[in-house]
């Protein structure tokens, strides 16, 4: 039988949200939910596989904003409080459902999960789960890579190379400070690539990055191995294009595995089903109902009719879906091998938060796939780094401008709802470059002021805000954040133009936005 390779890459990212001025802050739940439902369960799976001696090696990209939040003491202690609250809710749910066995065992399942999360978080990782990922890298089970500093969608900044360089340079610095190692790979946010970006990445010694499928299908040359091998972009850097067809089995909301009728439904949550009074301690505001993660129903159908979730039935389906995934890869390997001069590589990148958070059973599916691959003689799990070591010679070609967003280009991040942001961000970048030229060697108070201005621009560049606005979720918050960063930057700019520093404001704002504490504001210089 023909041989094939599969390169699984997970990208973990959340925007920087940290609000010490509030006791609790709704959007911080993005982080807490991801820790509870994705990162900790994923670490448990990776550790279990390692303990069982299952050979595996995956690539995991952790964005600098996420790393910063995961290592932030305030957010760590707030997560511990969140997990405590969820455990408390679980215990309350076990009492409430005592006479309903089907629901009671689910309440118990969630309760156990939160108990385990708390133990892992506090005892195993001493509240810093980055240590877990580091340990897996040290034993050769993960290859950790980075992504743009604040996850900017880089093609929309191609006329501002200083800003793109700032995103790359800071990302690498942040990665080194968290993982004590220089990353060789770079996750382009939203797989957003433009010709020329490879030169910037390569100038920072990055060896590979990932693109959308059509980046290679529509490359400047006829790519003789299609998307089944990387291309050499000509500056000692390679591009790996994702296999759209295969990844749809996981990504599709219409007919992918996650929407199987026996899997847990994402939307039906007690946060919307139970009395407000009962939920009060767990909600942020009595006016805002929100998800609690306690979800008792299976997908069942597209209608409102839902059956009670059955974890044993779902686990059985996980095994079937893992087997089906391997079968699809084997079938595709057979179909394509005849026209290739080497075994095909299937590059499959996914957002890490897809697993566990939305697709509750996704983490188990990942474990099953890895176990099946370990016993498979034909399909080998490989990382991009190992692939390049094994096949150092690849065809030279330049990928096409592309992203993995809707329609494959920039339309998600530039549409009628969010296009207004670029005028402000681009002008801010121009102004920051102007400040660097006017004040090239500031230290002390003015230096801090300028550092903070650089931070504000970077935060405004996050791809999350235009995405969230375009997608229609949390629009108010995204608009608020953008305006806050643009306003704060302009406040510094205007003060510096008057040769003054607003010390009180600076101290307060630095305390709130403590991202990239060692940033050099000259990163925005034109050179």
């Amino acid at each position: 039988m023909d041989k094939g390779y599969i390169g699984l890459t997970l990208h973990a990212h959340l925007p920087f949200v940290r609000n010490p001025e509030f006791n609790r802050f709704l959007e911080e739940d993005w982080l807490y939910e991801a820790i509870s439902e994705t990162y900790l369960p994923m670490l448990r799976v990776f550790n279990r596989l390692r303990a069982d001696g299952v050979p595996y090696k995956l690539t995991l990209s952790i964005s600098p904003t996420l790393s910063s939040m995961l290592s932030d003491h305030l957010l760590q202690s707030r997560y511990a409080e969140y997990a405590d609250r969820m455990l408390d809710l679980g215990q309350k749910e076990m009492k409430r459902t005592a006479d309903q066995p089907d629901f009671h065992r689910l309440a118990k399942m969630y309760c156990n999960m939160h108990q385990q999360n708390l133990e892992d978080f506090n005892e195993l990782y001493k509240q810093n789960i980055l240590a877990g990922f580091r340990s897996l890298e040290e034993t050769g089970h993960l290859v950790l890579i980075t992504s743009a500093a604040t996850h900017a969608f880089l093609p929309l900044y191609q006329d501002y190379p200083q800003a793109v360089k700032a995103q790359v340079e800071l990302a690498i610095e942040s990665h080194i400070s968290h993982f004590r190692k220089k990353p060789k790979g770079f996750w382009l946010p939203e797989c957003g690539y433009y010709p020329g970006l490879e030169k910037i990445l390569s100038s920072y010694d990055i060896k590979y990055f990932f693109t959308a499928t059509h980046a290679l299908t529509l490359a400047n040359k006829k790519v003789k191995r299609g998307i089944f091998a990387p291309v050499d972009c000509g500056h000692d850097i390679s591009a790996f294009a994702r296999d759209y067809g295969l990844s749809q089995a996981v990504w599709s909301e219409d007919d992918g595995y996650p929407v199987d009728r026996v899997y847990r439904d994402f939307y039906r949550d007690i946060g919307y089903d139970l009395d407000e009074e009962y939920l009060q301690p767990y909600l942020h505001d009595k006016k805002i109902r929100s998800f609690t993660g306690f979800k008792y129903w299976a997908v069942t159908s597209k209608s409102d009719f839902k059956k009670v979730y059955n974890p044993e039935v779902a686990q059985k389906r996980v095994s079937e879906h893992a087997g089906n995934f391997i079968y699809m890869i084997e079938r595709k390997t057979r179909n394509i091998s005849r026209i290739l001069d080497r075994p095909p590589l299937f590059t499959l990148p996914f957002d890490a938060e897809l697993f566990g958070h939305w697709w509750f059973e996704g983490v188990s599916w990942l474990e099953e796939v890895i176990r099946l691959l370990a016993d498979n003689n034909h399909i080998e799990l490989i990382t991009s780094e190992d692939y390049l070591r094994r096949f150092p010679e690849n065809q030279q070609a330049l990928p096409a401008y592309s992203s993995w967003g809707t329609k494959g280009y920039s339309s998600v991040w530039v549409d009628g709802s969010n296009d207004w942001i670029y005028r402000h961000i681009h002008r801010s970048i121009d102004r920051m470059t102007e400040l660097v030229e006017r004040f090239p060697d500031q230290v002390s108070l003015k230096g801090r002021f300028l550092k903070h201005a650089a931070r504000e621009i970077l935060l405004a560049m996050a791809s999350d805000w235009p995405f969230v606005i375009s997608n229609g979720t949390s629009v108010g918050y995204a608009q608020h954040r953008l305006k806050e960063h643009i306003h704060n930057f302009n406040l510094v700019y205007e003060n510096m133009c008057r040769n003054s520093v607003n010390t009180e404001w600076l101290t307060r704002t630095e305390k709130k936005t403590n991202l990239f504490p060692d940033i050099d504001y000259r990163i925005f210089s034109r050179d």
Binding site: G245, H357, D464
Partner: protein, 247 residues
């Protein structure tokens, strides 16, 4: 479910939500009408989201912690940001191979000078189509004008051909037909690719064709919504039909 939640809100809250959704003059609406209206707006939003591809739809769930339409007013300071910027400039951003977004600023003093001297001045975006990113006039294939109003500050520009380079000038014209270039954008290259220019190779080589589409296949079906790939496939289909009719 949404209807039940809307029903639990006061008239003032419903009015606030409707205003936030851009409904002008909410006072004439009664409670029932506002509930219907808000439900309709929400359904439209859901329908819009469904137009996104799978990745974007699923990514959205990462940020789903509450129903946006039912969340109250934002609880912090409203930040003031500049309305415009003093430097006259124009920026072109690629949206997809056939559309670019242009935004511009005109220095207010410069604008006043133009309008004082020429109160009926007209403004245009002049879009140049070129073969490559080089300022050589020989590369210019043609240009077209888009009339704009003085109060406009952005525009979505249709790019006629993929694989070409575009540049835009912001121009004022006085009643005597005298043109003044206010600013020029950088050049922008619309994506094209090898196969767009060489579709015949795909038609004649089944292995190339197989490889071209294999990245979009799950082993049995092909699926791609990319506009350029669809265009290449449509061209191939056209040329196949042409050959058949000649036979």
């Amino acid at each position: 479910m949404a209807e039940d939640i809307y029903k639990s809100l006061s008239l003032t809250e419903l009015r606030f939500l409707a205003e936030r959704e851009g409904v002008k003059n909410v006072d004439p609406y009664d409670r029932e009408e506002l509930i219907d209206l808000l439900e309709e707006i929400w359904e439209e939003k859901i329908a819009d989201r469904k137009l996104n591809n799978d990745i974007m739809r699923l990514k959205g769930k990462k940020y789903d912690i509450y129903r946006e339409d039912l969340k109250g007013t934002y609880r912090e300071t409203e930040y003031v940001i500049p309305e415009n910027y003093p430097k006259t400039s124009i920026q072109l951003l690629l949206r997809d191979p056939f559309w670019a977004y242009a935004y511009w600023d005109i220095n207010q003093f410069e604008l006043q000078v133009i309008l004082t001297r020429h109160p009926n001045a007209q403004f245009y975006l002049r879009v140049y189509e070129m073969t490559q990113c080089c300022a050589d006039p020989e590369n210019i294939l043609g240009s077209f004008d888009i009339p704009i109003k003085v109060e406009d500050s952005s525009w979505y520009i249709n790019l006629p051909n993929p694989g070409r380079v575009y540049q835009v000038d912001l121009i004022s014209e006085n009643v005597d037909g005298e043109l003044k270039q206010l600013c020029r954008s950088t050049m922008l290259e619309s994506p094209g690719g090898y196969w767009l220019n060489n579709p015949d190779e795909l038609r004649h080589n089944s292995d190339d064709f197989k490889l071209f589409l294999a990245g979009y296949s799950n082993g049995s079906d092909h699926m791609t919504a990319n506009i350029l790939i669809q265009r290449i496939l449509a061209d191939l289909e056209d040329s196949k039909q042409d050959s058949r009719s000649k036979e």
